[in-house]
């Protein structure tokens, strides 16, 4: 099946609808794509990401599993080795830790340990992050745990179009991909998506706004607040010194491996770098980027690099999660701090 993108109409849909659309499209394009997970069949997933897929593609291709995350990951490894492209859903990232042994000891290493004889093209999808007043264990952002593992790709979309294009890319990729969906954005906004079956590139970040004075790097749900803040800064006609600056906003999207070439180009241009992520600070992806800046970009820096992150605490239950999550005012303050700290 081929698509002429000019003939395809753009539709305004939510991020979770874009995930669903990509899954439909991926399965239509490739018969080896199978889906497995808890409640993904008739129920269409607890967030409805797999709505209608079992009806369309059948019980043997869209499989409700027993309530056992280890099995989901382990079976997906076996399916992937045997020629299928499993897309497994873990209901919430808080339950993904049961999959670690299969993802780390097998999926990430299968190509290496067999010198390419066997491969493991699976996608492990999970909603992640806070901000939806969910119960305990349903709000964490632990993408860095997977990013540490050689052989994995970790991909996080932050808009419906990127969810669609990156999920197709993840499914087409011949290696394992952890695909983390910011559930706070699942129904945040309807934005245009063209269902043309086209992937977006993995291992590439996306420059969402261009600017010359500061590079703001973020991913996942925080992109929403970053966009609002950056648009205010970039369109401001205020003449106070801190606000006549233009900010380059980069959605990192693939948090492992990181597209350092694009980050380097941006930071060399702006001379300032602020990283914003919801995950805890210590050993977060922000630490990796800040270390990279320190190792490679010091001569270009006009101010110290800054991280604005979640705290090194357990994610508070929802009555207090607002005090953990990154707000627009927090981002504004961090931008001002970087500018004021200029050498």
């Amino acid at each position: 099946m081929t698509f002429n993108s000019q003939e395809m109409e753009s539709k305004d849909i939510t991020l979770v609808e874009a995930v669903n659309l990509a899954l439909h499209r991926a399965r239509s394009l490739d018969e080896t794509v199978v889906l497995l997970g808890e409640d993904i069949g008739k129920n269409g997933g607890v967030f409805r990401a797999t709505d209608g897929l079992q009806e369309q593609f059948g019980l043997s291709r869209v499989m409700d599993t027993p309530l056992a995350e280890t099995s989901i990951a382990g079976a997906a490894v076996g399916m992937a080795v045997a020629g299928l492209k499993p897309v497994a859903e873990i209901q919430f990232m808080g339950f993904i830790y049961a999959t670690f042994e299969h993802i780390i000891c097998h999926a990430a290493r299968m190509r290496n340990r067999t010198r390419g004889r066997l491969t493991c093209p699976l996608v492990l999808r999970a909603p992640f992050g806070g901000g939806i007043h969910a119960p305990e264990h349903h709000s964490e952002s632990t993408e860095a745990l997977f990013a540490h593992i050689p052989g994995l790709r970790v991909v996080i979309p932050s808009s419906p179009a990127r969810a669609y294009g990156l999920l197709l890319a993840a499914i087409n990729n011949p290696d394992p991909v952890i695909f983390l969906e910011p559930k706070r954005l699942y129904r945040a906004e309807k934005l245009p998506v063209i269902d043309n079956g086209e992937s977006l590139p993995l291992d590439k970040c996306f420059t969402l706004r261009e600017g010359s004075d500061l590079t703001l790097i973020s991913w996942g749900a925080c992109i929403q607040e970053c966009l609002a803040v950056v648009d205010r800064f970039n369109s401001s006609s205020d003449s106070s010194s801190a606000s006549i600056i233009s900010i380059e906003l980069i959605d990192l999207a693939t948090v492992k491996p990181i597209d350092f070439a694009s980050l380097d180009a941006s930071i060399k241009k702006t001379g300032r770098c602020l990283i914003v992520h919801e995950a805890a600070k210590t050993c977060g992806i922000g630490a990796e980027i800040a270390a990279h800046v320190a190792e490679h970009l010091m001569p270009y820096c006009k101010a110290p690099v800054k991280r604005l992150t979640g705290f090194d605490t357990v994610m508070p239950y929802f009555k207090n999660e607002q005090h953990y999550l990154i707000s627009e005012l927090d981002i504004e303050a961090a931008i001002t701090e970087v500018i004021n700290n200029s050498f």
Binding site: V81, L84, P86, E101, T114, R117, P257, D259
Partner: protein
């Protein structure tokens, strides 16, 4: 025959009154049930087949002894011996059809040999070289899995492969091996559960060699048998004398045939004994008595099969001497072939990480090359 035994096993195993499936006594005589001498399965009349089994079991043991010696002299790394478990391993290899998929743990050297893995490649793996798992087995499936070190995780992969076959409407079966220790892990129990729930073409073999390093069978589980763990998952399960090649092959053939015919999964608990240390890094005398080991030597599988084929007039001392010579000749050649492998270049550690190379790692490859020249310039 097996079906009846299976039914008996299932009804009796909860109160532990059934004996494991056995055709040969410890002396290699045909075992009786009550006063009646058992009828042996058809394949026992096939002389060439029985001798082939015997030869594989001997090659497995000779390989084992050689591998331990190579470890002691620093030519390979830590190695887990399969001494005393040759019947299980060889029966697994022989009961599989080429297109079936074998999903092993790490003590299945005999199955590996029968599947057509070269001895030098087995040594390559245990000699610390990834290329040991790079070769498709000559008599096996392209999907035969590499040796699996993380305990019981392979059971989930076996279920995934079996599920792929079911989805693709293929008629192959999947055979997964594990140890008695692995039967305690959640992965195994989840795999049983999924195999039963999805009615998958997979056979699990627990190689119950009584010891998981230093932990004896009775600490692994309060269940009278390990086989009954399959019953809870709705899986027909059977205990077999794992030191009786005839019983093992019969049970495996039946189980794999059922799987290929879409009759669902099966679990075989093969009762054996680990005559060796856990690995070359272990010293079993720290935790078990010599009396127990001596007793187990009386039940070992090779002597039992040798007595049987002798009694049947299929074998004699001369044939035995030829076989032992032949094993040694094969091993000497294989060790030479193994030692001819040069280690891969250091940069090879990057070669199979991803299919599409992340350019952001270019500097690490360069650093690896620099590190090599710095540390190895002469």
């Amino acid at each position: 025959m097996l079906h009846n035994l299976l039914v008996n096993q299932l009804s009796n195993q909860l109160n532990n009154t059934s004996a494991p499936l056995q055709y040969l006594t410890l002396e290699g005589e045909v075992a009786c049930i009550g006063n009646a001498v058992q009828e042996l399965p058809e394949f026992c009349r096939d002389k060439e087949f029985m001798l082939q089994a015997y030869r594989w079991m001997n090659l497995t043991r000779a390989f084992d002894q050689k591998a331990v010696a190579l470890q002691r002299t620093g030519i390979i790394g830590t190695y887990p011996s399969s001494l005393g478990q040759e019947a299980i391993s060889v029966a697994c290899g022989m009961a599989l059809e080429k297109e079936d998929v074998f999903v092993p743990y790490y003590r299945d050297h005999g199955s590996y040999l029968v599947r057509g893995h070269l001895i030098e490649h087995l040594l390559l793996y245990w000699g610390g070289d990834e290329r040991g798992s790079a070769y498709k087995p000559i008599n096996g499936s392209e999907f035969d899995m590499p040796i699996c070190v993380p305990i019981a995780t392979q059971a989930s992969h076996a279920v995934g492969i079996a599920s792929a076959f079911k989805i693709q409407q293929k008629k192959q079966a999947v055979l997964c091996t594990l140890g008695d220790g692995a039967s305690s892990k959640g992965d195994f129990l989840e795999a049983l559960n999924l195999a039963g729930s999805w009615h998958l073409p997979v056979v699990f073999v627990i190689n119950n060699n009584q010891w998981a390093i230093s932990v004896p069978r009775h600490i692994q589980s309060g269940a009278p048998t390990l086989a009954q763990k399959g019953t809870a998952a709705g899986i027909p399960s059977i205990q077999v004398d794992g030191n009786d090649f005839i019983a093992m092959y019969e049970a495996l053939s039946e189980a794999l045939d059922r799987a290929r015919k879409r009759k669902g999964p099966m679990l075989i608990e093969a009762i054996s004994y680990r005559l060796s240390d856990h690995t070359t890094a272990d010293d079993a005398s720290r935790y078990r008595g010599q009396e127990e080991v001596d007793d187990a030597w009386g039940k070992e599988p090779i002597k039992r099969l040798r007595n049987y084929i002798h009694q049947q007039g299929m074998w004699d001392e001369k044939a035995e001497a030829c076989l032992q010579d032949d094993c040694q000749t094969q091993l000497v050649k294989a060790v030479e072939a193994y030692q001819a492998f040069e280690a891969e270049q250091p940069e090879a550690m990057f070669d199979y990480l991803y299919e599409s190379w992340p350019e952001s790692m270019d500097d690490q490859v360069a650093a690896c090359s620099e590190k090599y020249s710095r540390n190895h310039s002469c």
